[in-house]
């Protein structure tokens, strides 16, 4: 049973460029969340997708956008990259209706983005 898979694992971009990160949730999970973890910090919530819609959003600018597909996979897009966007981007999945308020998420290994 595959867990949460993310791609790419590493990538390097320059300021002003755009990036797309991809995530496949754990089998049986239909809710996907994205987190940003800067160096030396804990993960910060970006947004959550369920039923192909953004359901919750953290304190991130509109440059951060996402999408969820009918197969529950998800993409995170970041436009007009800044140096400060360099971080590990984590995708997490969970099943709806189960653990709804328990915060038990399954995380992928992350995509490490470096912006030069």
């Amino acid at each position: 049973d595959a867990g949460v898979t993310q791609s790419p694992t590493h990538l390097i971009k320059t300021r002003g460029q755009q990036v797309t990160l991809r995530c496949s949730p754990k089998s049986g999970h239909d809710t996907v969340s994205w987190y940003q973890q800067a160096l030396g910090q804990g993960p910060q919530f970006i947004f959550q997708y369920y039923e192909e819609e953004e359901r919750q959003r953290g304190n991130f600018p509109d440059r951060f956008s996402g999408h969820q597909f009918p197969n529950y996979s998800s993409e995170l897009n970041v436009n007009a990259l800044l140096l400060g966007d360099s971080a590990l981007y984590l995708c997490a999945s969970s099943p709806s209706g189960q653990g709804v308020n328990t915060g038990e998420l399954f995380f992928g290994e992350g995509s490490r983005l470096t912006v030069l």
Binding site: T31, Y35, G40, G42, P43, N101, G103, E104, F106
Partner: protein, 113 residues
């Protein structure tokens, strides 16, 4: 505004002894608290959780204690094992915000032989 704080960036404990990791929070709306463990090059993995209506939850070698009046929780690992060496994150959620975890900055635990 750091709503969840882990003031100890690192902790070193001998194998077999108790490890105590601490976490403080400021938002009284949090009603569920979790600990995640993270190994290098891996995503965080859920370890243990506690509801705000409880003051203790135990799972094998891991026990989490919650002191609501002090807005403080701690994770006890007894006995500590070398495989427990990892970064531990404390996290909290508010009612109705299932996936929106607020994480602390983490504590790196090293269990020595």
């Amino acid at each position: 505004d750091q709503q969840v704080k882990q003031n100890s960036p690192s902790l070193s404990v001998q194998e077999g002894r108790i490890s105590i990791l601490n976490c403080d929070y400021t938002n009284s709306m949090f009603d569920y608290f979790l600990w995640y463990k993270k190994y290098p090059a891996e995503g965080p993995t859920f370890l243990i959780s506690i509801s705000s209506i409880k003051d203790k939850n135990e799972d094998g070698r891991f026990t989490v204690f919650l002191n609501k009046s002090a807005k403080h929780l701690s994770l006890h690992i007894v006995p500590s094992q070398p495989g427990d060496s990892a970064v531990y994150f404390c996290a909290a959620i508010q009612p109705g915000t299932a996936s929106k975890l607020t994480f602390g900055t983490g504590t790196r635990l090293q269990v020595t032989l």
